[in-house]
């Protein structure tokens, strides 16, 4: 169950319990702001500021008498009984004054109960009910009237007209006046009026936009033309005013027979209505408005009314030039969406002549392209072409562009997204509604294995446009834009209900489809052809459909849909996700075959899990920042639509659309930290201030641990280390060289590491990691880095997966820690020997430089050589993250080593003036010379990545052991692993629990080694500098090389065993001393670190 907002809520309560109650973001219900916007179809930047009960009074015929100009208030009073009165709520937002008779209450202070009432039945009025949605900039004047019955009465005069309205006589402009009486306390009324005043002042700035937008409205043309006609020929100039663009239909004819559609009559009725009730921006919705829409809009007015009822008009008003600007901005650019659009341009409503012309196709191209730029996540989806083509018959490009935005963002959420989850979800919703309302038909469908959605999916996806004959589809659209998505369901249900009997006879998909096909073809026929009653005979099947849809299925409300959506959402999303996972894993290419399906599945989950969680954290951080301003809205969209809204927190979810598919280095670190325990840092950064809560949530089954709040930027997972080795791995896997990894990269990378069981290829893989220039040689620096990496990788042993549960830390069994200590030492000494041998058998780069003289000149202080060698095993600069908490302490302990001769030779290697390198064969030889390293490369390294079985708790006890280096050597023997596992309680993230003396010491050996190494590194650098100062003459030393070659041979013959023994023993001794000495201080320090982390843990609980 995916319920992020609950988590957010919980998190907030943890941090600040009072917040959870007061902020809208903690409210799982839709926020009022969102309901408000949805009800009045306002743009997303509007919020309800003021709300008051009011009565709207409209005089029935005031515009017909508009010539009289000012209507004085006493006159108004007298007319009152004749006018239409509406009681409702008056709302004020930043830029709008809205009135609706539909119950609503959006203010934060208002009671919750009423807040969702508009999602119920609207009786055909649409959610906005009767009333108006007035942009404040369209208000010309507000007067306060004296009234007996109400304390406050306002007379509002609107602009009601385009640019010419101003220059024109009041007859055409000043006519519209509304009277609103406020019912409320004096204070409430005054507050409202103050708000209104402020809004009006602000609104002045928008007037230009309004003029521009309104001038493109057909209604404005229609009414002003009308006024001019009555004024006679006196105004010739006005006549030439351009007819606004009312879509391709103007040129290519509107579909259907205008006479049969009674278009002229409809226009006449609308003209009357508009004259009395304002037009476009100032339109008032009275019951006639809805009736006029139900009977079908007249062709030329259709586009504009769609705009108004859907609210896209307000978007256009807000940014009238967005469309042209978007096109201009991206002109010439290419995208996948554009390719896809081009493919379909020629095949969008091809039967309509307008779309066989360049003009029509050009418009279609521009609208689809512009939208794909404004919403790149959606881009282009087939079916959009059909919908937009249909819109373009009735509206201009700009209008269609905004209407498409409203469709995709609000009316059809997720329908056209990358995964089309909205479409799939609504199909499930539709199916469940059929099951509920027509159980017999549903049983029949189930029994005969007919899948309903194969029939109904195109209905929803293309809004019935390619299912019904166009003229009927447009009638459906008329209502759809007014009343919202529920209309699609109502129509769909009605179709099935009407054809119920025939459908019950259909036993297969084919028959089922053909029944419906023939029904759609006969929509124009009489529904009751044999009826005696001529009136009844005149009722067409389409009319019958509308009646059934809106009467019989009146119970299907927006609320029903929302509820059903949230009910089915998870199942649908899971389906999509498992499909996406399946497909994506299958398409990973041949390399991936080297990993098991389980491993691939695990990698997939981990990969997207990490990306998702990172995104969540980023998102939530951002939310935190703008919580008050924004988060309420976002979650609210989710409820209203039943699906997470555009910018919702759930964005990263695969099924909801495009989520990040590329992993940057930080994400990669986090990814590794969940897979390999060496990738977890030793020194977690201290928790930030407790306000930065970031609830993380994982939805992938595998990685689901119950996490709640965590304070680190890494969520509640372990904080990853940042080591050079990881960076190298990242670079190596980043085959596309774009600094990010795709799933493909990661899988291929793992296939190389884990996919082979061949020690040789593992060794060369490792070698190549450090062969920066690919010339088959690794230089001194590289050797040092390799050894450092080996230490880094081995510092927690190999068999284990990390266990971060606090309980694991407390677990410790009593089996002998000494053994482990020995193993650690063994590994360290192995590495020490490794370095020594590397240098011993390295090839000099320029033999000229390698001289005895250089040996003489160079000596690293007075330190014993052997000590130096040891230090060298980890000398490269440690990044601040991996650095142990201890400061660097110059190592002054120098236990003497007896092996002078060897040391000398090796010391030569230390000479920075002696560039040298090892080749792969040398490297291989050196590795194979040591049993422990050999085992490491044979299995330890690849098994240090725990894939699919990692998170299983059953493994935890046996695999959570730390610092058991010997495990590397015995990877194959489960017995050893188990024993080792039993011997050590899992401690997480390198934090040594207090009082774990020996364990702490062991860790200290490692960290100490690293520290000492850093010191040597420093000294080496100093030596280097010193040497730079002395200009030195190199001398040849070919003999040396010869000698080494000879040794190579020996080594290969396995003559080296003795050597190994010696080296190990010595190194062990050397290490042991500083380890135990420093151990005490170290343990103290680490204790404090671990205490800090404990606090975190407790807090999380």
């Amino acid at each position: 169950m995916f319920n992020l907002s609950n988590l957010v809520q919980k998190a907030q309560q943890l941090i600040d319990p009072s917040l959870a109650i007061t902020t809208p973001s903690s409210d799982r219900r839709p926020s009022k702001a969102s309901l408000f916007r949805h009800q009045f179809r306002l743009p997303d930047n509007q919020s309800p500021l003021q709300e008051i009960t009011a009565e709207l009074t409209l005089s029935p015929h005031h515009t017909t008498r508009a010539g009289s100009g000012e209507v004085s208030s006493p006159e108004k009073e007298r007319e009152r009984p004749q006018g239409n009165h509406y009681v409702g709520k008056l709302h004020l937002s930043e830029q709008y004054l809205c009135f609706s008779t539909q119950g609503s209450s959006f203010l934060n202070t208002a009671s919750l109960s009423a807040s969702s009432s508009f999602t119920g039945q609207t009786h055909g009025a649409g959610p906005a009910g009767n009333g108006f949605t007035l942009p404040l900039c369209a208000i010309r004047r507000v007067e306060r009237l004296h009234s007996q019955s109400y304390m406050f009465a306002l007379a509002i005069t609107t602009w009601n007209g385009s640019s010419d309205a101003k220059s024109n006589q009041p007859s055409s402009a000043g006519g519209q006046k509304l009277t609103i009486q406020l019912a409320g306390s004096r204070i409430a009324c005054e507050r409202f009026c103050d708000g209104l005043k402020k809004g009006l002042r602000e609104g002045v700035r928008e007037v230009d936009n309004l003029r521009a937008v309104v001038s493109q409205c057909y209604s404005d043309w229609l009414v002003s033309e009308d006024a001019e006609e009555r004024r006679g020929a006196g105004n010739e100039v006005k006549k030439t005013r351009e007819h606004p663009d009312t879509g391709l239909g103007m040129v290519f004819k509107y579909p259907g027979n205008a006479r049969k559609l009674r278009d002229a009559t409809k226009i006449r009725l609308w003209r009357e209505y508009l004259r009395e009730n304002g037009r476009n921006a100032t339109l008032i919705r009275q019951p006639t408005f809805h009736k006029l829409i139900r009977v079908g809009l007249p062709n030329r007015l259709r586009g504009e009314i769609w705009e108004l009822t859907s609210g896209s008009f307000f978007l256009r008003l807000q940014n009238p030039r967005l469309f042209t600007e978007t096109l201009a901005k991206h002109s010439g650019r290419e995208s996948l969406a554009i390719d896809e659009i081009e493919k379909d341009l020629n095949r969008s409503l091809p039967e309509y002549p307008g779309f066989q012309s360049e003009e029509g196709i050009g418009r279609l191209r521009r609208v689809l392209t512009a939208y794909s730029w404004t919403n790149e996540e959606v881009g282009y989806c087939q079916a959009m072409n059909i919908v937009v083509a249909a819109l373009l018959i009735y509206m201009s490009e700009t209008q269609a562009f905004f209407l498409l935005s409203v469709l995709c963002d609000r009316l059809l959420p997720g329908y056209y997204s990358q995964t089309m989850y909205g479409t799939l979800l609504d199909q499930r919703v539709f199916e469940s509604l059929v099951e509920k309302t027509m159980p017999i038909l549903w049983d029949h469908l189930v029994k005969s294995d007919v899948q309903l959605s194969v029939v109904s999916l195109p209905w929803f996806l293309s809004l019935y446009i390619n299912s019904m004959p166009l003229i009927f589809a447009f009638r459906v659209l008329d209502v759809f834009f007014l009343e919202g998505p529920k209309v699609l369901f109502q129509i769909g249900l009605a179709i099935l209900r009407i054809n119920g009997e025939e459908l019950l006879d259909a036993t297969d998909d084919g028959t089922f489809i053909s029944v419906l096909k023939s029904y759609f073809a006969r929509l124009d026929d009489s529904a009751h052809p044999r009826s005696e009653n001529p009136k009844l005979r005149a009722v067409t099947r389409f009319q019958e459909l509308m009646v059934v849809a809106f009467k019989e299925f009146a119970g299907i409300t927006q609320n029903t849909i929302s509820e059903q959506r949230s009910k089915h959402k998870d199942a649908v999303l899971e389906n999509i996700e498992s499909f996406a996972k399946r497909t994506s894993i299958r398409n990973l290419g041949p390399e991936s075959k080297r990993l098991s399906t389980n491993d691939l599945g695990f990698l997939y989950d981990r990969f997207y899990g990490v990306l998702y969680e990172r995104q969540q954290r980023a998102e939530i951080l951002q939310h935190e920042a703008e919580r008050r301003a924004k988060s309420g809205r976002i979650r609210a969209t989710e409820i209203v639509t039943g699906i997470a809204g555009q910018s919702a927190v759930e964005m990263g979810r695969v099924a909801l659309g495009p989520s990040p598919t590329q992993m940057d280095y930080d994400a990669f670190r986090e990814f590794l930290a969940g897979i390999a325990k060496w990738a977890v840092t030793d020194s977690p950064s201290p928790p930030p201030e407790p306000n930065g809560d970031k609830p993380s949530h994982s939805y992938f089954g595998n990685s689901t641990r119950n996490r709640s709040v965590s304070f680190s930027p890494w969520g509640s997972g372990p904080e990853p280390a940042d080591h050079e080795f990881m960076r190298r791995l990242f670079r190596r896997w980043d085959t596309d060289m774009n600094d990010t990894l795709s799933l493909q990269n990661v899988v291929t990378g793992f296939a190389q590491v884990k996919g082979t069981k061949d020690i040789m290829s593992n060794i060369s893989y490792f070698f190549e990691l450090y062969d920066d220039d690919g010339d088959g040689r690794v230089d001194r620096e590289g050797i040092l880095r390799i050894s450092e990496a080996l230490l880094f990788l081995s510092r927690r042993g190999f068999e284990g997966s990390l266990s971060s549960s606090p309980s694991m830390q407390d677990f410790q069994s009593g089996s002998s820690p000494e053994r482990r200590e020995n193993r650690d030492e063994q590994f360290l000494s192995s590495i020490s020997a490794f370095i020594r041998r590397c240098f011993e058998y390295a090839d000099p780069d320029h033999s000229a430089n390698q001289t005895i003289a250089s040996l003489d000149h160079f000596s690293v202080g007075t330190d014993d050589e052997e000590e130096d060698l040891l230090d060298l095993s980890h000398p490269s600069p440690l990044s601040p993250h991996t650095k142990t908490p201890l400061p660097l302490i110059p190592s002054t302990t120098n236990p003497l080593s007896p092996i002078k001769e060897k040391a000398q030779k090796a010391n030569l290697a230390l000479d920075p003036n002696n560039p040298l390198h090892i080749t792969l064969p040398t490297f291989r030889m050196v590795i194979l010379a040591d049993e422990i390293l050999e085992h490491f490369f044979e299995s330890g390294f690849s098994s240090s990545f725990r894939l699919h079985d990692a998170p299983l708790p059953s493994h935890a006890s046996s695999s959570s052991n730390l610092t058991t280096f010997s495990n590397a050597g015995r990877a194959g023997t489960p017995g050893a692993a188990l024993a080792a596992g039993a011997s050590v309680g899992g401690a997480s993230a390198g934090v040594v629990p207090p009082g774990k003396g020996l364990r702490g010491m062991l860790d200290n050996i490692v960290s100490d080694g690293m520290r000492v190494a850093a010191e040597v590194k420093r000294r080496m650098d100093e030596a280097q500098k010193e040497m730079d100062r002395e200009a030195r003459v190199g001398r040849e030393d070919e003999e040396e090389e010869e000698e080494e070659r000879g040794r190579d041979g020996e080594l290969l013959e396995g003559a080296e065993t003795a050597d190994v023994e010696i080296g190990r023993g010595v190194a062990g001794d050397l290490l042991g001393v500083p380890g135990s000495v420093e151990g005490v201080g170290e343990a103290g320090r680490q204790r404090s670190a671990s205490e800090a982390s404990r606090k975190v843990v407790e807090f999380e609980r």
């Binding site: 896809e340 493919k343 379909d344 020629n346 095949r347 969008s348 409503l349 091809p350 989806c381 087939q382 079916a383 072409n385 059909i386 997204s417 990358q418 995964t419 089309m420 479409t423 799939l424 294995d449 899948q451 959605s453 194969v454 999916l457 195109p458 996806l461 293309s462 390619n466 036993t507 297969d508 998909d509 084919g510 489809i513 389906n575 999509i576 499909f579 996406a580 399946r582 497909t583 299958r586 398409n587």
Partner: protein, 247 residues
Amino acid sequence: MADPGAASAPKPSSSVKLVLLGEAAVGKSSLVMRFVNNDFQENKEPTIGAAFLTQKCNLPTRTIKFEIWDTAGQERFASLAPMYYRNAQAALVVYDITKASSLIKAQHWVAELQRQASPGIVIALVGNKFDLASTTAPSDATSNGDDADATEEQDEEGAETDARKVPTKTAKAYADEEGLLFFETSAKTGMNVTEVFTAIANAIPETSLKGSRGVGGQTSLGRQEDSARVNLTSGRDAAGPNGGCAC
């Protein structure tokens, strides 16, 4: 293909669910249109969701009624596909021989079908738009009407600007490896279209055939010819000669 001669007067008839899959605009719908209506439309509306059509195919021993699910090709519709290939006994995976990426997509579909669709599904790989290739490719199957290409770009008749991007060999090799039927077709000229469907009809194992629906009540059929089971490979070979579609 074996013919036990069991057919009495009304040939046994059975329906086969067939699904078309493939990248957008490779000509899936056009192939179906050619097969069902013997017609070709230059600008066919993209399929939304899926289209459903039926067509009969007469074999010597039986009649196969194809219930064809023609699916939408755009990538994002892929998640709808399982809905359509559910219970399908045959699939036509179509690519465009002038577009290399479409073969990759086709291979993905084949993989998806092999894993997720009903076991034993008969899959045919079809390279469409043969009319756009210069006429060198499949030597035997050149029943194409060259004149039908007249409307296409001029390069075609002139010098060899072969639009073909997928060599027959490549696709054929892949098809063989996966055990698929393989054809190159042109929905525009009609080349090889009925052959594809006939080959599929022949390759459907008798056992997987359901009894007929509606047509002349042969309830017992379908089982009587168990001996005549056709395996996939023979089906592929039998493709050309055996064609007898009633369309």
